[in-house]
């Protein structure tokens, strides 16, 4: 059986992050984009935890708590924005929401 090391966690985190990035760039549904952002945050959290474990340093875990609190607040605000958008535009497609331009 293969030993699971730091690099595995980091690759997993990188993969998750990349999936999140690609999702943010390619999907048109605001909710999906939002979920992809969550994915990216959690990829970072995963990297924190991994380093914390392998470096035997509790600071990383503290950061993750912090990050989760911020993510929770962000979810509250973000969902509220998406809700407000839907009420105004009858759509959560980001291609329809592009009035903030030159």
């Amino acid at each position: 059986m293969m030993h699971v090391g730091l690099n595995h966690f980091l690759f997993l985190a990188a993969a998750l992050f990349s999936i999140g990035v690609i999702g943010v760039l390619t999907r048109r549904n605001a909710l999906v984009i939002f979920m992809c952002i969550e994915l990216m945050i959690n990829a970072a959290n995963l990297a924190f935890i991994a380093f914390s474990y392998y470096l035997a340093d509790i600071t990383g875990q503290g950061f993750v708590f912090m990050s989760m609190v911020v993510a929770a607040s962000e979810v509250a605000v973000g969902l509220a924005i998406i809700l407000a958008l839907f009420r105004n535009k009858e759509s959560v497609n980001v291609d329809d929401i592009r009035i903030m331009k030159w």
Binding site: V94, I99, K101
Partner: protein
């Protein structure tokens, strides 16, 4: 000669009041005009404006009496404050009242006071009365600063001040664009001269490190310095010559000599008392005064003196010939002034400084009188200036007529009137001149003097002694002027008659007091033992010259009088015979047109096409507008990136992050 610095300078604080009084008058009337406009009471304006000048005159007289009680070389002085201090260089707001300044102050305040008084009558109906008198007082202040300054820098302040007032007063009736542009012409032509004057001052500062007259004189008195002045060259000419000629360019502009005289005839657009005060008696003589003041410097350069005398005598003859044919009474007098100033410079150029200053004084008397008389005629004829529409004014304006006759005899050089003494003195000194050109200068000057007799006699006959040619509706209204106008005329007439006795020549049994009075300031010209026409005695030659010139002048006056009074048709025949010459004189040798074509138009062309269209509109505006356009174009391009699609932004962000990662990875 001893430098003046060795003499005592007596500090007298009240000296400052001489220029300060007119300045206060200017402030009072000027502020009054700004605040109250036409509501400012005329008697108050009169009292202040005329009072301050006569106050200055009284103080000048008092200072003159102080000088009389002092040893010859002593002078009065007063330093108001330190004006410029830069390293070793200092220039004070300091006044110097020596014998030369004294003469000038008395002329400026005395003749000036009379002209102020005359203006009360002449300008009585002008709405901008207070403005007129405030300018006139400001002029008096500037002129007094000019003649009382103890250094060249302060003198230049006065020099510019009188130029400004001249501009303001020529264009006094600025609603008339022609008059306004005459003012501008005077100012601009003077600028050209002032450029040379400034170069001269800068050279003096560079060379001597001082602008104080006494210290300059002490500097020049040093043998080594004199050697330097004469043997060091600057731009290929001797240092002394360079400085003197640069300063002389200023004098040419201010005192209307060839080639910068063109502004003075146009300056007649101003009110007539202004022509009398500024453009005859005082301001235009500033150049002569400047050379007189710096005579110690001019004596270092024979070349410069020759140039001065040639320009002077050339101008004297040249402008006299223009005076022959002008029909505007003031234009005749203007060219006459240019001509007489030429005589003064001739005297300066042959190192007869006191003779030049004396002609300045007598000219101030009789030319102010002529201008004021002309003003009285214009006033009496409700604005008529054309000699062809005058005539027979002897009956209508008797006082004006007979006072002007005195000035006429004086300017023509009839014994014993003032002009005779001063003009013959100049011709005599020219004949005596050491430069070798003396005889030529004397002959040209003599011709110019005869020319003076011609144009003045013509003017007098056409205006006063021939039959009336006035417009019929104007004729009954012709009237003598009020007392404020004829009293100055009478006083100036007295001065024109008796002024010559101030410097009555030794050869006629006089004492040449004026010359002796100025001797501490300006050395007497060398008395050469003359021998011309086989006559050994100097006095004999001088007497002969006097008799000859008086007889010739009288003869010319008689002939011209007879022609204009009895045989006017002869003048037309002469004009026809001398066709081109007549037209040249009548059109003032087309100098204005030539300047216009050679200088003014190219200047305008360069200003418009090169400076305005190319440099200003093209390069300067082009740079500013180009930068703005570039920024705008860049913004137009860049704003395309702000698509409003949030994923585009995210994509750029990711690209950026990847680029940074790539950079660290490849490093």
């Amino acid at each position: 000669m001893e430098p003046a610095g060795l003499h005592n300078l007596h500090l007298i604080p009240w000296l400052g009041w001489i220029p300060l009084l007119p300045l206060l008058g200017f402030l009072f009337n000027g502020l009054g005009w700004i605040v109250l406009r036409e509501r400012l009471s005329r008697p108050v304006v009169n009292l202040v404006a005329v009072g301050v000048v006569f106050g200055s005159f009284a103080l000048s007289l008092n200072a003159f009496l102080c000088l009389l009680n002092l040893p010859p070389g002593d002078s009065l002085g007063f330093t108001a404050f330190s004006w410029i201090k830069a390293g070793d260089f200092t220039a004070n707001f300091g006044l110097l009242f020596d014998r030369l300044s004294c003469v000038m102050c008395l002329v400026v305040t005395g003749v000036g006071g009379l002209i102020h008084l005359y203006s009360v009558g002449y300008m009585g109906r002008d709405p901008a009365y207070a403005r007129y008198f405030s300018y006139l007082n400001l002029f008096t202040f500037a002129m007094l600063t000019l003649v009382m300054a103890d250094n060249l820098a302060l003198m230049f302040v006065g020099w510019e001040g009188v130029g400004l007032c001249s501009y303001l007063l020529i264009g006094f009736w600025y609603e008339d664009p022609e008059k306004a542009s005459a003012g501008k012409k005077a100012f601009i032509v003077n600028r050209i001269g002032d450029f040379g004057f400034l170069i001269g001052i800068f050279t003096i500062v560079w060379l001597m490190g001082t602008v104080d007259f006494n210290r300059m004189q002490a500097w020049v008195a040093n043998v080594d310095h004199r050697f330097l002045l004469q043997h060091q060259t600057l731009l290929g000419i001797g240092l002394a010559t360079f400085i003197c000629l640069a300063l002389f360019v200023g004098a040419i502009g201010k005192s209307a000599q060839i080639p910068l005289y063109v502004w003075l005839p146009d300056a007649m657009a101003g009110p007539t008392p202004v022509s009398a005060l500024i453009h005859a008696a005082t301001m235009v003589t500033a150049g002569v005064y400047m050379i007189g003041r710096l005579n110690f410097l001019y004596l270092q350069s024979e070349t410069a003196l020759i140039v001065v005398s040639l320009v002077g005598v050339g101008t004297a003859l040249y402008s006299a010939t223009i005076g022959f044919t002008q029909n505007d009474i003031k234009k005749v007098l203007a060219y006459s002034t240019v001509s007489q100033l030429g005589f003064m410079f001739t005297a300066m150029g042959v190192a007869a400084f006191s003779a030049g200053i004396f002609h300045l004084v007598t000219h101030a008397f009789f030319k102010a009188l002529l201008f004021l008389g002309a003003g009285s005629v214009i006033h009496g004829l409700s604005g008529e200036q054309d000699l062809r529409r005058m005539g027979g004014l002897r009956q209508k304006l008797p006082i004006t007529c007979w006072t002007m006759v005195m000035a006429w005899l004086a300017i023509c050089g009839i014994i014993p009137f003032a002009g005779f003494v001063s003009k013959d003195e100049i011709l005599w000194r020219a004949l005596n001149a050491t430069s070798g050109l003396g005889k030529l200068i004397c002959i040209i000057g003599f011709l110019a003097a005869l020319g003076t007799a011609v144009y003045m006699t013509r003017l007098m006959v056409l205006a006063f002694f021939s039959e009336s040619r006035m417009d019929h509706e104007k004729e009954p209204h012709a009237h003598e002027s009020p007392w404020t106008m004829w009293v100055p005329l009478a006083l100036l007439a007295v001065l024109s008659v008796f002024g010559g006795f101030l410097n009555w020549p030794v050869s006629l049994g006089g004492g040449a007091y004026f010359e002796h009075w100025l001797e501490p300031v300006m050395p007497a010209p060398p008395e050469a033992g003359m021998s011309i026409l086989g006559v050994e005695s100097t006095q004999g030659v001088e007497m002969g010259l006097m008799v000859f010139s008086v007889l010739m002048a009288a003869l010319v006056m008689a002939v011209v009088y007879w022609i204009y009074a009895k045989r006017r048709e002869v003048t037309d025949q002469v004009a026809e015979k001398l066709g081109p010459l007549y037209r040249a004189s009548f059109n003032k040798y087309w100098v204005d047109e030539i300047y216009d074509a050679l200088i003014v138009e190219p200047c305008k062309w360069i200003s418009y096409f090169i400076l305005f269209r190319l440099a200003d509109a093209g390069i300067v505006d082009g740079l500013a507008n180009g930068l703005a356009g570039l920024t705008r174009a860049a913004g137009m391009g860049l704003r395309r990136f702000q698509s409003g699609r949030v994923q585009n932004y995210a994509f750029s962000f990711v690209i950026g992050v990847l680029a940074i990662l790539l950079y660290f990875w490849l490093r």
